[in-house]
Amino acid sequence: MQTEPAVETVTVKVDGRAVEVPRTTPNWQGNPEPTTVLQACKHAGIEIPHYCYHPKLPVAGNCRMCLVHVAMPGRPGPDGKPPMSEDGTPKVFPMQLPYEPGTPRGVIGCATGIIPGMEIYASSPETREMREAVLESLLINHPLDCSICDQAGECKLQEYSVEHGQPESRFAEVKVHKPKAVDLGPRITLDAERCVMCTRCIRFTADVAGDDALGIVNRGSYNAISTYPGQPFDNNYTLNTVDICPVGALTSDDFRFQMRVWFLKETKSLCTGCGTGCNTVIGSRENKMYRYEPRRNNAVNSDWMCDAGRLDYKWIGREDRLTKLRGPKGDITWPSALQEISGHLANAAEGSVAVVTSARQTNEELFLLKKLAKRYKALTDAVPRKGEADHLLVAGDRNPNTTGAQLTGITTKRVGSRLAAIAKGIASGKITTLIVFGEDVTQHGIDATLLGTLKLLIVSDILPNATTKKANYLLPGCAHAEKRGTFTNVKGRVQKFTKAFEAPGDAMPEWEVLHELVHAVTGLDGFNSIEGLFNQMAGEVKAFKAAGLTWASLGDKGADVKL
């Protein structure tokens, strides 16, 4: 084990308790900066309320919600010693207004660095009074339309109002009304009234997404977030502003008025849009998926994900999902289908079988397919899917698990290079059995007439296509949200995802089906859990073994393997 380098620490007092905190903390770009009062309080287990501060954005310090009352140690006197109090401890001076001595003065926790010996009064009556005043001023023009606001339930304004708010408004005048339901971009709707002007969205889009699209217009109470006139807010990262918006000002068109957030079950998952494998949280209710949200993983996607990936979930709930298990004679049950297929496969000769799989299948499924293929010395390959990479998250490889397919030996460095050989084998009559997982092979050089010449075509897929129409055995599969498993991203990070809801109809996780088949055909040892399967795979696949992976050691954030 490598020992961590010693961290330089500073001792401060938080609510009278001495806390040792690191002298520096990584800022939004990962560079060390002096630890702030807000971060020191977090080390002490005390949350300072804040709106504009976000650990992954530059500090702006404009919402004033994180005001805290602090006391500073005195400057050293002529003798070089700091002023001491009577009991021999260093004297501290609570901050007060210079023009009004005796009135406590707050500092903003998000932008004030700590000093050794500083005392932070995180829960003192003075601090609480400051917070209440700030919150009251933020609520002056807030419309309080929580009943129709999508943010209700995960709104910082609601939460802090409960903790630090007044039961009634003292504001007797008419509130300033700002535009509601403003179409800010193709995926974003702005409610200017709800905005607290924290500028998180402005900083995100300018500094992280690299598109200086948003700004504040007008003055005072008429402040509003806006794009440049006529310029839509339409880069590929706009929906992250909805996540970081602490209130309901920015809402996603896709999620708008779809479901209240308190009904959503949150499941840790991964985005399958490209090879990056952004960590996500699936929000679902009763077998219906409502949204993706990014989940923090500093090794992969920080706090963000792209709009394309975020909206790439509608296919899971599509009406035409394959839900019926089908054999050559129509509907069939899983036990008899598996028995018949293994019966057919048991008699297949070496070299007469080929496997085309998708690089959207999990590591475990690819591993099992490879095992099955090995038995027949079968040709295997996956289908490449290319796109354009961008500066932030999107990878050029649009398959979520190409690396997994390569590591398990399903495909080579040149994905799809064996497809022509498989087509040729079928045409020559050498290959009589084709196993297809999750791809429409008619789009990739094995057309429908060629499929017609096969003796046996076993297809597993989620949505209907030309290949599933030709299948002798059609095995309805599961979306990643309906099963468990792991993907290996383009950089070699193995990450797991968990099941959010049940699959429709007969659909069954592919790894369970494959496990049965592999067990029946090759007689290999069974394992009846995904954990056992992963651990077995980690013991056999070279790269996984070298990294010493186990299901448990993956954790929520995954582990790297050497490519």
Partner: protein
């Protein structure tokens, strides 16, 4: 715990006198010309009868009685519910089911951005607890006095939005209540907001 029974007196132990006492009560009711109290004004014409012709006649339920929950409309006959789904959340037997409108939803009144696409209450599940009424931020659902909910199938007893709104009717009561409290527009808060906004100078 042991309960001590009071000893019967010798008069009570005679048995027959108490039996006769019972007959006396029955006979008094039989020959009574006094109106029964529970019928109230309804029974003016039925001076001597103690039998109620249910279901043609129904009890007058007291104020505060919790009957079936219905959706009410505002004084302009517009849907008040904004589909916040708090009643669905708070409902202990999960009798309420709301389908939110989605982004392209329609509203039938000015200012409110949202109203449910569908609102169903399963009257077989409802336990008349009144939490929905209590939690509603829009005063859109009330437990009215209906207490005999019958139907011929389970499906029939799942009331949809159209039916609930028809049964609930226009909510003059809540409106008056708010006018009394000095809110000039009653509970029409969304309309008030829209009007206020229109009267303000435009900065965009």
């Amino acid at each position: 715990m042991k309960v001590d029974r009071t000893e019967l007196t010798w008069w009570e132990r005679l048995y027959l006198p108490t039996l006769l006492n019972g007959f006396k009560v029955t006979l008094r009711h039989f020959f009574s010309w006094k109106r029964s109290e529970v019928y109230g004004d309804k029974q003016k014409n039925y001076s001597a009868k103690t039998t109620m012709q249910y279901p043609e006649e129904k009890w007058d339920v007291p104020t505060g009685y919790r009957g079936a929950p219905y959706l009410v409309k505002d004084v302009d006959d517009k849907t008040k519910c904004v589909s916040c789904q708090l009643c669905e959340f708070v409902c202990p037997p999960r009798a309420i089911r709301i389908t939110p409108p989605g982004d392209s939803g329609v509203v039938d009144r000015e200012g409110a951005e949202k109203m449910p696409k569908e609102f169903e209450i399963d009257m077989l599940r409802c336990i008349y607890c009144g939490y929905c009424q209590e939690v509603c931020p829009e005063e859109a659902i009330y437990l009215l006095k209906d207490n005999a909910i019958t139907g011929e199938s389970r499906e029939e007893l799942v009331y949809d939005m159209k039916k609930l709104l028809a049964l609930g009717g226009a909510d003059k009561r809540a409106y008056d209540h708010h006018v009394q409290d000095g809110v000039s527009d009653g509970i029409k808060k969304w309309e008030t907001k829209t009007r206020e906004a229109r009267e303000q100078p435009k900065f965009h």
